[in-house]
Amino acid sequence: MTEGPSQPILYPVEGVAGKTGEWRTFYPVVDPDLCIKCNICWKYCPDNAIYPADREKDQPIKYDYDYCKGCGICAEECPKGAIKMVPQGE
């Protein structure tokens, strides 16, 4: 088998730019009582930093704060207002 051409291909690597969570100025906090486990936030998260909710186990979503950059898209998209953006350090 011949080797393929040299192409501009990148494979995903976890943390290639370090722990990008350090870039955050706001961090998301989910209210487990309000979370209906629809996982809309998980779908919208551009950084794959949300672990999806599990309805069967009645577990709400969880955040991977090492890589969440605090963009707030999850809070914006949450249909129940269950996610709040809190200034870092509060």
């Binding site: 011949t2 393929g4 051409p5 040299s6 192409q7 501009p8 291909i9 990148l10 494979y11």
Partner: protein, 380 residues
């Protein structure tokens, strides 16, 4: 042994469509444009009639047509499209993406001049504008060669050590819409020659996802381009090898596959041509010889990669070259002429080169006009 073939009458576009049908592309995406349209019309009929099991994607523009082909090529599928002129220009961004991205896409370019003024007749300005896009470009002289070249294209382009998209180019209307004789092999023999695309250059794998064309730092970018340069160099031998294999099976050849000489060496004047002017040049040579002149011809079949070694060797053995281009780089001269002149200079060959631009915007270039140009060059 040469396989049995059937002599048929068909247009150049029919010939291109037959070659594509026999090579069984898995994905075809195209947008109609004169004079290419009937290629993909034929193919869509083949798909409709169940003769061809391909995904035929109807798109809203040429830019999307090539984008769809790129997606298919990334998925590791055999991919075909065709275009012309303004359509090719509209594809521009993706032409470079697929060339620099090393995606084996087979795309006949039915050459048509560029607007303004609006004109549907042939010259090579459209494909020549993409000379530097990292595509192989082969120019053909008649309907038979269109079939043969499109069929060969799959083997050249999809080879893993080449991995370059390819434009088989041919004069609009003069070839595309003119009926001529084509010796057509049966589908099985053609398939036996082309074979399946089973060792893809690149293949989408959802279990091992990758990003294509993401931010690339200068050192990696340079490596990509160096590999493209090397692949173009390797493509010369690949074109020769595929052409040789083709000739053994189907009994037809075009010089060594890169250039097609006509007549003997050591003549006073050599006509260097491209496209259908090459066919007319043969007639001109025969008549000039009958008048007692020492002339021969060389047709450039592969323009990218540029067959420098063959052209230099040919020039060394002759006394004067007259290059007829069907396109022009404004501010300089015809592209073939410019490149031949520089190749000779690089190799310290001092055979004089006269450059002429002929047949722009569909201007007819019959053998009589070529004879007149040749006689004038001989007098100088």
């Amino acid at each position: 042994m040469v396989v049995k073939q059937e002599l048929k009458s068909m247009t150049g576009n029919d010939a291109a469509a037959y070659a594509a049908l026999f090579a069984k592309p898995e994905v075809i995406a195209a947008y109609p444009i004169t004079p290419q349209t009937t290629i993909v019309e034929n193919l869509s009929n083949y798909v409709d009639e169940g003769l061809l099991d391909a995904e035929f994607i109807i798109v809203e523009s040429e830019h999307s047509a090539l984008a769809a082909c790129m997606g298919a090529a990334w998925a590791g599928e055999r991919t075909f499209t065709a275009t012309s002129s303004q359509g090719l220009l509209y594809m521009a961004e993706n032409v470079f993406w697929s060339g620099y991205g090393r995606l084996p896409i087979i795309m006949p370019v039915v050459n048509r001049c560029l607007a303004p003024g609006w004109n549907i007749w042939p010259d090579f300005q459209d494909s020549m504008a993409f000379r530097d896009a990292g595509w192989i470009q082969m120019y053909t002289k008649n309907n038979q060669e269109v079939f043969d070249t499109v069929l060969q294209s799959f083997k050249i382009s999809e080879s893993k050590d080449i991995a370059l998209p390819i434009m088989p180019c041919y004069d609009g209307f003069v070839i595309s819409h003119t009926t001529g004789q084509v010796n057509l092999p049966n589908a099985e023999d053609a398939w036996e020659f082309v074979g399946p695309y089973d060792d893809p250059v690149i293949e989408l794998d959802v279990k091992n996802p990758f990003a294509f064309g993401a931010m690339t730092m200068p050192d990696q970018y340079v490596n990509n381009r160096k590999d493209l340069i090397a692949a173009m160099e390797r493509a010369k031998k690949k074109i020769i090898d595929v052409h040789k294999e083709f000739s053994e099976i189907f009994g037809r050849s075009y010089g060594n596959g890169l250039v097609e000489p006509y007549g003997d060496d050591d003549d006073d004047l050599s006509l260097i041509t491209i496209g259908t002017m090459g066919d007319e040049a043969h007639e001109a040579i025969d008549r000039l010889k009958a008048e007692g002149m020492k002339v021969n011809a060389l047709r450039v079949r592969s323009f990218r990669p540029f067959p420098e070694e063959d052209i230099v060797k040919f020039a060394k053995n002759n006394h004067k070259l007259l290059v007829l281009d069907r396109s022009v780089s404004f501010g300089n001269a015809g592209q073939v002429g410019i490149e031949i002149e520089s190749a000779l200079k690089r190799n310290n060959v001092d055979t004089p080169v006269k450059k002429l631009v002929r047949g722009i915007g569909g201007e007819d270039v019959p053998y009589s006009k070529i004879m007149k140009d040749a006689k004038e060059a001989l007098k100088e």
